[in-house]
Symmetry: C2
Subunit: 224 residues, 2 copies
DNA sequence: GTAAATAGTGATGTATACATAACTCGATAT
DNA sequence: ATATCGAGTTATGTATACATCACTATTTAC
């Protein structure tokens, strides 16, 4: 394995574990264990964990260690409220800065999204999640603002804590039998394509809010 | 000195140096040097620097070190565009969540701000900067959203790279001889007090944009 | 005289040894 | 029986030694 920079290597390895749901909320990430399994010393692992804490992907108890944050309805509300608004900003900004190539790329993603098989299987779900991620982060990138993109990436990943609740969303069909996800995404891209900043922002906000509401409905059913 | 946690101690010490303009853009921050001057080993210093890089307060060249980011008109545009919109969000959210105590606190700050002596002296300028910081970050806190607050703090501090251009802004008076800064702040607090989210957001966006435009004017004058 | 090669210097990158504090669990006292 | 004290265990906190790479300056070849 060609590993030019162990800090970065460790960071990527660990965040992939986190975002891939290899840990449960409350699980501790032991420096020694991670170091051993990645085949390096504690130093770069420790460095990576520090960054993940700073970014809010992990919580930390002093002299105890780093652990996966515990999800809560309140945190979910904060995450999705922030995400709704931040992504509203990136979408609007994307409508101002998108090139032809950018827009082609977005249409391509929606095409792929529509073709994902009926998402009963775990594989199809993963495929869907990946395309969805790509869609949202592409728009952030197109916004052409380093800082908004940074915040958008952050809050998007942060919302992944809650993503395993999303089965319902991925399978939902509207009255004409079409998947609702690609439909909403299409509308957003159209607005961007038409350089309609306000509409792009509004549609994105609406899209994220719907996602949240479906999540929350499901959650209430699960926990009450 | 009671230092329970050296990582944190180093972080705070270094970020204070950065925000206090102890370094010039492009300056390298040497681990060895900082460690020596803070009286601790390279380890916690290194940890702190890593976080500061992750947060965008420092840039990094591999195997070379961390340095103060170079300001540029383009970066300034990105910073202030993001700040304008993020602070627009926090102001709007603050208008929904502010308690009586919160609003009293904001009025208090404006009172102090008005009383700051004619800011010719360096001391008065510093005083002004501190109150201004307190004002903006208080509103972020009142927004009651952990993530928006985090982003707001970050982008606010990030804009400090440019703050030393701001003399003009602090001294500017309107046609009736009043300082423009407190006047704009007053209008924002009134909107929050009246629970007018949209107006609070708009006024805050406008306020930040004016700040940027004055900065940029001054900058153009200095550099062209 | 100029350019390329190279040795020297000083910083970061990495591993490891030791210090310290939190948790565990059992023993003892009430 | 329960509560408290304390020793043992283990993971983090910190310092340091060594490795490595980037830069610099000097030397050497043309």
């Amino acid at each position: 394995m060609a590993r030019k920079n162990l800090d970065e290597f460790a960071y990527k390895a660990i965040i992939n574990l986190i975002l891939g749901n290899h840990f449960k909320p409350g699980d501790f990430l032991f420096e020694t264990e991670l170091a051993a399994s990645l085949g390096l010393s504690r130093t770069p692992v420790r460095h990576a964990l520090g960054q993940l804490v700073a970014e809010g992907f992990l919580d930390k108890k002093k002299k105890k260690g780093c652990f996966i944050p515990l999800p809560s309805p309140e945190d979910a509300r904060h995450v999705f409220y922030a995400r709704e608004n931040i992504e509203g900003l990136t979408a609007a900004s994307a409508a101002r800065h998108a090139t032809e190539t950018d827009i082609d790329h977005l249409y391509l993603l929606i095409g792929k999204e529509k073709k994902v098989a009926n998402p009963g299987s775990q594989k199809a779900k993963l495929e869907y999640v990946t395309i969805n991620e790509n869609f949202h982060l592409s728009i952030a990138k197109i916004s052409q603002n380093k800082y908004l993109e940074q915040y958008c990436r952050h809050i998007f990943w942060r919302s992944h804590t809650y993503i395993f609740f999303f089965d319902k969303y991925y399978t939902e069909l509207d009255s004409s039998g079409q998947k609702t996800g690609p439909k909403q995404h299409s509308a957003i891209v159209s607005a961007i394509d038409n350089r309609n900043q306000e509409k792009a922002g509004n549609l994105m906000r609406q899209h994220v809010r719907i996602t949240f509401e479906q999540l929350f409905m499901t959650w209430q059913l699960n926990f009450n």
